[in-house]
Amino acid sequence: MKRIFSVALGVLTAIGGFVDIGDLVTNAVVGSRFGMSLAWVVLIGVVGICVFANMSGRVAAVSGRATFEIIRERLGPRAGLANLSASFFINLMTMTAEIGGITLALQLVTGIEPMLFVPLAAFGVWIVIWRAKFSMLENATGLLGLSLIVFAVAVFMLMPDWGALAQQTFTPSLPSGEQPATYWYYAIALFGAAMTPYEVFFFSSGAVEEGWKRKDLGQARMNVLVGFPLGGILSLAIAACAAIVLLPQAIAVTSLSQVVLPVVQAGGTIAFCFVVVGILAATFGAALETTLSSGYTIAQYFGWSWGKFRRPAKAARFHIVMIAGLLASMAILATGVDPILITEYSVVFSAVALPLTYIPILIIANDREYMGSDVNGRAANGLGLVYLVVILIASIAAIPLMIITGAGA
């Protein structure tokens, strides 16, 4: 019974924790501009994050080492440092976007300028990381994030033309007024939103935090293979809501307030309460994960003591890096930059940086010295190599498409 509860909790947490500000914004933007014609990218992204998380979780459980410890060992200090710099920068962008997302969610309830909530949000993230247990912070935000199921409920309550939605999904075409380059730019943004690197830093470091062994791999696989695809359905529901309500009125999403309008139209104030709780949990949870990831990556690279399983005094530099990261995010948001804009850039840069972490993990997952008999099987390697090609194409095409399209304008 305890085992079943544990598996169910893990799956539910994975569903609720799948969506973050990047998924919320990118899926809504895409739904409002392209309808469901980019749904296939969500599918590719979800399978991709399942492949990646499954591999990195297995590497961490079997070798007992997390992503950046291995990257430094395999790539050497210099190439590892270049990798760390790029990964840390992208993670900082994502962390800033998530903290900005918390403030925007609070604005939806209060109507108060989001800038005023920045110190409160950053303090909240810090105190939870400082005081709460690892499993507690992961489970609480993941379970509350399940409130985002209200997007899926809203799709049914809006009573859409199912035939039209299915046609957009299964015979994708370019809506009038949109350019092919913009379509592909947003395809990469959606892919980056589904496969953000911090999820893997957090997942693999979490495996070490929670002391996973080989025997825990089955449960970890279940969490990933059931939880993430169901989380992907939430992403599709966000896009569908925007496609049903906003696209016909030529509303291109540029703010979080527009993302929630279809849900409020469907279910009024009760639905609004659910969506706000869900957005707060999703952004707060992702802010915790990105903040921890900033500490994980740097501490693992430099070989410092790290982890929430240690008392803060025993991992002082790990905690100082996280505090510095939070202060940097606050400083960025204090310039008045739009958190939605940071989000849009962060998902694209996530796609750019993806090979930096994916390739070392794929190599290690095939290394018998680290993995023994748990190296990738043929099927895992076949899928891993297909995704290597997809990730490389997305990474190479992202910046040129960003320039050509004026960042999807």
């Binding site: 604005q107 939806l108 109507g111 009125q249 030529a250 509303i251 703010s255 409020v264 104030t269 609004f272």
Partner: protein, 145 residues
Amino acid sequence: MGDAPRRVALACLAAAAALVLSSCASTGSRVSDAIDSAESATASASIALGLYGDGRALPGLTDTVLGDALTELGSAESDLSQLGPIGNSGAAKQRDAALATIRAATDAVLAAREVVAAGGDPDDAVTVLDHVTDALHDFGGSSGS
């Protein structure tokens, strides 16, 4: 004139022509982009205000949507204002007409925000927002967006 200088002169002329053509195209597309953004903003404002009138949206959310719409309209107006002097009188007239329509939309959203702040009946404000959204849509259609 030798071959080389002639080629350079021709290249310069071609580059200048390309620059003029691209600036014309960019004026038109920037007007069109600004109108599209403004239409998106007023349509969002209209939905939010309608939901508020039906008791389905809370004042905080409605005010946030209206505030975001104002930011979007301000950005559209600023984009058009920064176009600077336009040689082509047709394009200049189009820009001025677009600016006037966007300013009317801004006034409508500001009025809607006052209605929400005062806790008043938003029906008239919704009607005005729908009108300016239609005007922006028609303007976008006539300018080829």
